[in-house]
Every structure is written in structure tokens, then in C-alpha cells.
Amino acid sequence: MIGEFLDYAINGALIGLLYALVAMGFVVIYRASKVFNFAQGELVVVGGFIVWWLTLGMGLPWYFAIPLAFLLAAIVGYVIERLFFSKLVGESVFSMVMVTIGLLILIRGIVLVVFGAQVRPFPTIFPLKPIIIGDVLIPQSLLYGGILAVIIALALSWFFNQTRTGLKMTASAEDHQVALSMGISVRMSIAAAWVMGSVISTIGAIIFLSGKSLTFLASEIGFIALPVALLAGLESIGGLILAGIIMGVVQGLAEGYLDPIVGGSVGSILPFFIMVFILFVRPTGLFGWKTIERV
């Protein structure tokens, strides 16, 4: 009994960390540009296809292919920002969101044309053999992915809160006008954020897809990252870890205990219920920036 519970909870938590990782890409972009990127999952897919192309397609060894994949993903992020968003700084949230939806459709189209619709095997980057502790069975890719997610969150938090470059980006995240008046290049900050967001998505793709198969359906992970980001509060990177774990455990338990009773899908819609609930009771999430009103 308890073993079963732990199995659901621990695996849920690890999957939650993966959501958190994908959400990090989303939040990095949102902070800098205030673009609510609905195409975040598509960035994961693009990252996935780049990795697939370099490893299984071109036959490069992984230690060579992965850094190269990051580089290509960075270029993709940069190009997207230049082409679609650089002209939109200061435009309404609505028009930005519309552009991200357009981007989503566009990327799907391009992926389909370039890579075709067939299911591809994804390289096994993490060992497949699960780790078994008592009744708990943990896939190694999830475990390493979870650890990696935590490390990346800590690194990003440190970068944005402690380093000079990171603080500069945080400043432009907080207020474009103020940052600009200090001579900070807001454009550069936003471009850097898209580059980072795109690379993080590729890391997410590697963990999520390792040893599985790759189609554009993988983009659905981007949609679950959304409620995680909202739960954390859109500006907090460290908060994503906690939010991811909460979301993952809740989902894991619901899938384990509720889905068999009601015949499925409670687990997959629960995150969105939580999201709507959060938006009602605490729109800034657990750790987001509250508006400071001083009179």
C-alpha cells in the first residue's frame, strides 16, 4: 500500500520536476519580454528534432551532438525573437499572445515539412534500466532529469539574482522603461532570454524523450508547464521547483488512485483545475512579483 503510494508520489514528483524544467524556459522568456509563450512546447519539439537529427540522423556521438544541439537551439531562439517579437516590444499582451499562437502553428508546419509526420526513435541518452527501491520503480532518465532540473533552477536563480549580467536582465524584466533609462539594452536582454528559453527547452526534450519516440505530440509537455509556471508565479525560477513537485505529485496520485475509478483523465486535467483555482485566489502565484502600490 505505502509502496504504491510512494511509487505514485515519487514518480509524480520527478515528472513534476520535468514540467518545472520546461516551465523554466517559459518563465525566462516571460520575465524578459512579457511574452506569454504558448509555443513553449513547440520549442521542446524543435529541440527534440535537432537532437534527433544530429545523433540518429547525422550519426554524431552524443557528446558532440548535444553541445551542437544547444548551439542550434540558441540560434533558433534568437531568430524567433528577431523575426517575430523584436518589433512588438511595448505592444499589447493580446497581440503578443496572438503571435505566439501563430508561431505554434508555424513551427508545427515547419517540423512537419522538414522532418515528416512519421514517428522517430529518440536516442537513449540516459540508461533505460529503472532503479528499484522496495516497491518504488524509478526510471533513470526521470531521476537524472529531476536532479538536472534542480541544478538548472539553482543556476538560473543564481544567475538572475547574483550576477551582474543576470541582474541587468532582471532589471529589464521588471521595467523596460526604467532599464532603458539606465542605458541597459532591453533588446539584448530579450534576445538573450529567447536564446536561454530555447536551450532550456532542448534540455527538457532530451530528458523527456530519452529512449522514447519523437513526434510533434511531444509539445503537449509545454501545456502542462503552463499551470506550473502560473502556480509558481510567473517571475520566480526557484519557485518552479516547488510548483512542479506539487503539480507532479497531485497528478501522479490522481492518475494512480482516481483514474482507475472514474475511468481516466483526472490526472491530466487536474493541473488545469489547479491553474484556474490559483488564478482566482492568488493571481501572482506562490512566489510571483506582487505589484507594490505606494501612495
Partner: protein, 264 residues
């Protein structure tokens, strides 16, 4: 000559003419005050010099602005900050969610090394000791006066030669205004040039050597600060004093101000 504003015209959104042939000059190490009623074009003047108007759809359409002999009109804010020309915007725009010290670190983003940043932060704390006490506090929760000190300190981090400061006294209690202007006087002593936009004419003219009065996008009067202070029109409409030296009620002055034209 440190700053030379030569016959400058500014147009917003390609149609709204806001500055009409503005001329000003200032020497290195000096302090000038720009006075004028609401909507006169004071903020626009600062924004034209610092380059911020670009981000507000404004443009210098004729004339020129020179800083230390180089054209700075229609240049990017980044390049102007790098030249040592920094604009402290009105409204005490702190980075709300950051601590005081991190605000300062960001202000020093143009400096070359982290060591240099540390050094300058210490300098700022020496100049504005209150900020040292507040270093770990979140900027958004500081009082108005403290926030004003912070934005001044943050500007200092960029190692400026000229600070353009917009209405530093706005909405502050008289004691705080005094504090802030004391800091501005200290800055002057350290050799930094100051361009102050103020509605608090008294306070501004006390620090400044020279003053300009702006109305409807034109300079309508200028002179040595002490001369302006004695000038009857300035006394009446900006200092709120009539010939007998009595302070008029704010409402009277305000009412007058709207009708009075300086050209005449």
C-alpha cells in the same frame, strides 16, 4: 562647454510639436535649473538630451545637442550613458523588487569589473549614508524620500559627468526635500554637473548657478540663479511670493499661472 542645446525642436508621433527652438548651455561642474509649469516641456527637454524620447516616439527634428563636443541628439540612451550622461526620470523609478544594493549594482552595469562596482557602491554609501542602512531592503517598500535617494545613488553608479534629474522633490515632505537637495549639493562639490528640472523653484535655484524658465516649449526667461530669485515674475508665479514677500495660497498662484504668459 559641457552641454550645448542649440535651437532644438522636438516632435512626438511625427505631429505634436513640443519643443520650439530651445537654447541652453552649461559648463562642466556647473548646475542649471529648468523651471516651468506643468506641460511646459521640461521632461521632454531632458528626454531629448538623454535619448529617452526615442522610446516615446519623440524625435529631435531640428537643431542639435552637444555633450562635451559630441552630437548626442537622437543617439541611443546606452551610448549616452556610456558617455557619462545619465537621466534620473521623474517619479522615483526604483527597481521595486530588488534590494537597494542590487539596484545599485544594476546602476553600475557600465563599469568594467565587479571590483569597480563594489568600490563605487562604497562611494555612494559614503555620499548617501542612509542607503547603506537600507542596503538589504526591498526598494519598492522604501519611503518616497529614500527612493529618491536611491535613484540618485543608482545614477552615480554609472560614473556620470552630467546628471539630468527630473523633479526630485515631487511629493516629498519639506524635510525630505531638504535632505535630497543636500545630497545634490554634495554631488556638485564632487565635480558632477547637474541639470535639475523642478517645480520647487526655491530649492532648485538655491543649488543652481543658472536658471531657465520654460513655457509652452520655449525658454521665456533665463539668468543667474540669484537674479532669477529676485525677479518679480519668478517670485510671484514660481516662488508664490508677492512684492511684500507674503506667500500666496497655492490655488491663487496656480490660477494665475495658467493665464500668465512670460512673453509679454
Amino acid at each position: 562647454m559641457l552641454l550645448k542645446v542649440n535651437n532644438v525642436e522636438v516632435i512626438y508621433n511625427d505631429v505634436i510639436l513640443v519643443l520650439k527652438g530651445v537654447n541652453m548651455t552649461m559648463e562642466e561642474g556647473s548646475c542649471i535649473a529648468l523651471l516651468g509649469a506643468n506641460g511646459a516641456g521640461k521632461t521632454t527637454t531632458l528626454a531629448a538630451i538623454s535619448g529617452i524620447i526615442k522610446s516615446e516616439d519623440g524625435k529631435v527634428t531640428s537643431g542639435s545637442i552637444e555633450f562635451d563636443g559630441q552630437r548626442v541628439d537622437n543617439q541611443s540612451v546606452e551610448s549616452n550613458v556610456a558617455r557619462g550622461l545619465i537621466h534620473v526620470m521623474e517619479g522615483r523609478k526604483v527597481l521595486q523588487h530588488m534590494t537597494v544594493e542590487k539596484n545599485l549594482i544594476v546602476g553600475g552595469h557600465v563599469l568594467k569589473s565587479g571590483a569597480e562596482v563594489k568600490q563605487r557602491i562604497e562611494n555612494v554609501y559614503t555620499l548617501i549614508p542612509r542607503l547603506a542602512e537600507l542596503r538589504k531592503r526591498t526598494a519598492g517598500y522604501l519611503s518616497g524620500g529614500e527612493q529618491q535617494m536611491l535613484v540618485i545613488g543608482r545614477a552615480l553608479m554609472a560614473n556620470p559627468r552630467l546628471i539630468l534629474i527630473d523633479e526630485p522633490s515631487l511629493g516629498l515632505a519639506p524635510l525630505m526635500v531638504e535632505e535630497v537637495f543636500k545630497i545634490l549639493k554634495e554631488l556638485r562639490k564632487s565635480g558632477i554637473s547637474l541639470f535639475i528640472v523642478e517645480q520647487n523653484t526655491q530649492a532648485a535655484l538655491e543649488v543652481a548657478d543658472y536658471g531657465y524658465v520654460m513655457e509652452n516649449g520655449r525658454i521665456v526667461m533665463d539668468g543667474e540663479a540669484d537674479q532669477l530669485m529676485k525677479n518679480e515674475d519668478v517670485r510671484e508665479f514660481y516662488l508664490g511670493l508677492n512684492m511684500e514677500g507674503e506667500r500666496k495660497s497655492y490655488r491663487d498662484v496656480k490660477h494665475y499661472k495658467r493665464r500668465k504668459r512670460w512673453l509679454g
